[in-house]
Subunit: 438 residues, 4 copies
């Protein structure tokens, strides 16, 4: 029902390691891991017999859940935990009474989700840092590569390709900071029992919560968050921010790779079924599509925060539909961006050629600021306009016209000299690249 799970298409849309984390079997493994950790925590505190906890922990690797049975359970309950517990109890009768003690279905599902997310985000972080490294190298390599800056689709002034790459890079640096800010809020256990009071645990609830958190290397929330979904929605916001920044890279590559512009080119473009000369920039297209898809899904993850009472009616399920897709799409977009940029063919000559195609129009601002030192701005503006027209009509470059008309004028008539703070800005961004955390 989506390219993310098609054998044919998935590779273009999702990182295979992330996809694997969200398969049924993996999902159930995470549930079991949480049940085992809970038993361990309770065993250690003497809430349940340590032997039962150990037995449970030991038997998990060999326990193979019967997915068809779970399916039947979900068809009536709506959730996989009841049926899973039943299977687990049959599998391990001696621990049967001590599994899932004092927990509610959502405790297990949410804590498992947090583990799943944490594992998946490790994958994303690695690729994000690879990408940051790649972009840093490109910004440095191309810091002097002249090209035209374009605003509102029109030629404006000269820039360098390195500056453009820095513009792609800077938001990614901020995204990595944002992630480190939200992680502590996200990586917390869910443990509240039926209505978030842990009433069944006779006053030892928060003690167990702490032990469970330790067991799973997660934090403790202020209180159970069954209907407080802000940290999940915040994560979705982050995923969408990140994929939008990657989408801008894709968008720019698409535009720079148009037949008429041809300044960059995907190393491995898609072929055409009838036109031998064509090479489609498919990877850039996937980046834009992933960005737009995630932006569209984001609203539903925020709407899903309106969960009723102590546990809601449908917001939770909305998360199931949105969160894995968004995570998957972002993981795929990171991969695509990395491959795209690693292989990107940059055509310096074409960049220079395009920069100069307009006969020096991109130097008109420079000329105006040169003239302004000797005359009022309005007069300068008129002169620039007049000379620009002359240049266009006589197929001359603007510097040639100026030289003829006002030979002594001092102005920056070389594009490479009219780059302002380009190098400073590139350096600022490069210096802001964070250390890769081990």
């Amino acid at each position: 029902m989506t390219p993310l799970v098609s054998q044919l298409h998935a590779q273009n849309w999702v990182d295979a390691r992330v996809a694997a984390l969200f398969e049924d079997v993996a999902q159930v493994r995470f549930l079991l891991q949480v049940e085992a950790a809970l038993a361990q925590a309770q065993g250690r505190l003497g809430i349940i017999p340590q032997a039962a906890a150990t037995a449970l922990q030991n038997s998990l690797p060999s326990f193979v859940p019967d997915l068809a049975g779970l399916q039947a359970g979900i068809a009536t309950d709506g959730f996989p935990v009841l049926a899973l517990l039943e299977q687990l109890r049959r599998h391990l009768p001696e621990a049967a009474d001590f599994v899932h003690f004092g927990a509610t279905t959502q405790d297990i599902l949410d804590t498992a989700l947090v583990l799943q997310l944490k594992t998946a985000l490790e994958v994303l972080k690695t690729t994000l840092f690879d990408l940051i490294t790649q972009l840093g190298a490109m910004a440095h390599t191309h810091r002097q590569t002249l090209m035209v800056g374009r605003t509102h689709t029109q030629h404006a002034l000269p820039i360098t390709f390195g500056l453009k790459v820095a513009t792609w890079l800077a938001p990614l640096i901020r995204h990595s900071i944002r992630l480190s800010e939200l992680e502590p809020r996200l990586y917390v256990v869910q443990f509240g029992g039926a209505v978030g009071t842990l009433a069944a645990l006779e006053g030892r609830g928060v003690e167990i919560e702490a032990a469970l958190a330790t067991e799973l290397k997660l934090g403790q929330p202020l209180m159970p968050w069954h209907t407080q979904r802000d940290s999940l929605a915040e994560l979705c916001g982050w995923l969408s921010l990140l994929s939008a920044s990657l989408g801008k890279i894709g968008q720019d590559v698409l535009l720079l790779g148009q037949s008429e512009i041809a300044e960059v080119r995907e190393a491995t473009g898609g072929g055409s079924s009838t036109m031998p000369h064509k090479s489609n920039p498919v990877r850039s297209e996937w980046l834009v599509a992933a960005a737009r898809m995630n932006a569209g899904l984001l609203g539903n993850t925020h709407g899903a925060m309106l969960q009723e009472h102590e546990r809601g009616t449908h917001g939770w399920q909305l998360e199931w539909h949105c969160l894995p897709q968004m995570l998957g799409l972002t993981s795929g977009a990171l991969n695509n961006a990395l491959v795209l940029l690693q292989g990107l063919e940059v055509n310096h000559d074409r960049m220079l050629q395009n920069l100069r195609a307009s006969g020096g129009a991109v130097l008109s601002e420079s000329l105006m600021f040169g003239l302004r030192k000797t005359m009022p701005p309005q007069q300068a503006k008129l002169l620039v306009n007049s000379w620009s027209n002359t240049a266009q009509q006589q197929h001359l470059s603007l510097p040639e016209v100026v030289k003829a008309a006002m030979p002594d004028l001092v102005w920056q008539s070389a594009e490479s000299e009219y780059l302002g703070q380009t190098q400073v800005f590139i350096d600022r961004v490069l210096n802001a690249i964070p250390e890769r955390t081990p």
Copy 2:
């Protein structure tokens, strides 16, 4: 990555027949069907040898595409057609030169999509009609079943449950009309070649287009619609409209089934892992979630209409992500609505009890209109307020207070008499139910 494809969860979210249509193998079958039909059409017109066309048609049932090979093709091309053609040509060398003649990848993918949608919509239509029938029967059965009408969460005036069911039903009738209006726009072939001119076919393009349409029992569009995606977006709008109407049913059942209201109850509710007394209204929850999910996806299908030039850069891929999900979710919602309503337990006594719980407050409008025949409205309003307070304070019913205070007043003091045009409205809706098309 989504419950729609989870072995555990899919059954709750998508009709299995619809899901099957969107599996990789089915998808490829549709592509092959279009290639075969194109060959047939061209064979009949003498564009390619009839023998090749026949060979192709005959070999299709036995041709098993190599999905791994297609996967590799998509990884570089972005689309499955090039690799599929190569496999097909190897499989059937004698027809190799005559397959896909004059077509472009998107011609095949789009026409296959139309066939897929048409097949899937047949499933949806059948369930929609079953649902309309079911609701019609319920509206009739419960046309006199008294209950309280609620506005802004508050008791307002009496209605009957049949009237509420008619409110659920009327939009579905309009949706079936809307579908019949959009179908002719949707069920058309895509056949334009690389840029929508059919240039390779030496002036016989539209002839072939017509033959292809006949072959596939589809219509002809005004022109190729590679970047005219309005009919697909229109379909998505229809899917979202329909699922929103089903979502309202789910929402109402959730509200009517709350512990304190308990007027209806899902026949098969979900259990709780710790609370034996609980039964969760999971099917209603799925209906609301599907509605919200589709509403959230809809925007992207409209954004996907902004496709550039003769074939776009990413809008098409957005469709792949949204359309099957929306169709799947709607198919599942239809099934869930049908099962929910077929098994819905309606508690007449509880309805009556709730209606009367407020001691006649729901009769205050009736009383006011009764009083207005003998005094000005403002005076009537004051009296109603005063008597209502008396009733509340003395735990009497409003009719009792009125009887004591103004024994001769003529007014409709029975809820069952204060139902206005309820029966007329129910009849109007029942009479508008369309014939089931065979």
Copy 3:
């Protein structure tokens, strides 16, 4: 809070006539019109005294509602009708008892909304037909204007500008048909009383409903639609479909107007504060922005359909936030599209120049189909690739290389001959233009 109501910006985003319909004063006028029509209908049927109805009707033109008073009412009630009725009753004491008889607030607000929409849609329809006419003329004028067709940002094959215009036009024709289909569903009165039973009207409810509909030249719905919002959501879908189609025009103009392509140009572009040579394609930008904005708002209008019970809690208010914006943005987009296209500067020479810039690569498909008549496709493909490379390396055109290598080959080596069914498709679209309804 939005450019739609900024004195500075509104002109670029909304048709002034449509904006005026949604100002507070206009809104209140529509409410009063409905109250007057209700009184007229009830007067004619003898439900209220004809004199009161006439007095009400007559006094309306001179009645100036006190907006501050309404504001105060809304601050506590949430809705403007109660306070308005009070003012009206004070203004016209003799009719005080007969105003709003048997109606509920939402009856008045919804019916007024329908009138507002109908009036606004007349404006939109007129501009839509002007636009269809304009595009029709352009498709005809430019039916032979050669240009390159582009797919996935790359040069593909020749088309004509008229064909592209036909691609812009065809969806608009379908939109006008869609509108005519939905109008009868939309233009219906809302009249149901508090819970949709018309209980206060003693069995004469539907009679009054019919008279009210006649009075306002609207239709009758199957039943009151207080929580059946499908026709409003359908309208929003239409607005978004239409603006997406206009957005595609804007998108294409943006792309065709890029400095390097320069095939079209907005007649009146926006200036730059520092670069004299620049002209920004602002009107195209507004078209894309309006399309994306409407696509984003659309989901909320579908979510708004999940209204609870007999009257909901917040879905109605969501409509207030979305519907006028969407209508306004679409009206502005229609105006912008019309102005844009009427003034569009089309640069034939540049089109031809771009078409030929790649040295005949756009003829490679033509060459391949020419070769295929004398050799197998795979061999043809190899030859085309080889010759294309030769052409590129030696700066020759493809026809020149072919002439040298295989002088006797018969193929369509002129772009103007490789246009396939271009003229047929243009004619089909032109012939489908509907009559302008008076």
Copy 4:
């Protein structure tokens, strides 16, 4: 075009101080403030004459821009800055040559936006802290107020109203932390000139940037962010997160205030035009509507991040449509939440009555855990079910049935004793309330 700017409705949707900041006149004031600060910075650095800078600064208070003139400028340029500069230069000829020196339109508009946002967010922060204080007090006051916890619309176990309030409060505490994290990223100047290089400023660009930032008490970004819109989209995410959390409060109040539940009640509900007994929970409805509206707008603010090249084509305008609305709606929602909660009538008796309405079903978990100390869980479950049925059939409470059947059983049969860690969780949240920053 939206209730946010209607004289009638705005008060219910937006904080008046925030609305005022986004009126045309205020907007222009911010633009002028940035131009003046730029001149000051450049005067101090000797880039322009200090006298001109001072003259500009001094003349601003008396300068009244001609909005109609600006309107005309925007109609052709798309942006207000060019026309404003022209007016400013006419107003102050002696400084004419030194205004806007080296800046681009977007520098001024974006920096002005940042100032606008900073000012508006001060308003929001104050209300947010008032709200946190109010909720903290309520959580404390009601920490022992017994009520039933509800999951999936069904009675589950006892909680206290204070715990529910803590659930409303905890996310707001996190939102205030999130805001403090994003503020440094957001409050930065935009200063890059036409393409982000500050080329016109002869190598002194970043010096001026720093001085401008100092002048405006803003930070410096890594580089100009003309097409790096992540911090704006991040803010929009925050606004939507916050309003979703407020929406959950509204949703819960709506549900708790239903006629059948009646545990809480808005102090000032909206009236009905025909039903004297009704009081509509309008403020809660506005909270839910604002939340859903913002969630729907959010996607477009992320889509707006895909801005092309050095300055984009339409993403910027999307921000104009979304950001002020989202900020306005959130400001209004904060006000509504505060008023709602300050006046909320909490009905303890009704809470207790509802808690006990099911004859002790909410104690079934407690009973089960009591029984589990003496028998296996499955046997306990059977007993609980059997006794629950007995209680229901004989209209006894569960404790009564247990007492009769197993008089010696030790279990927590009082709801007030089955609250688990309720007090601990409330304390944790109360202790996490941040200091109000001055």
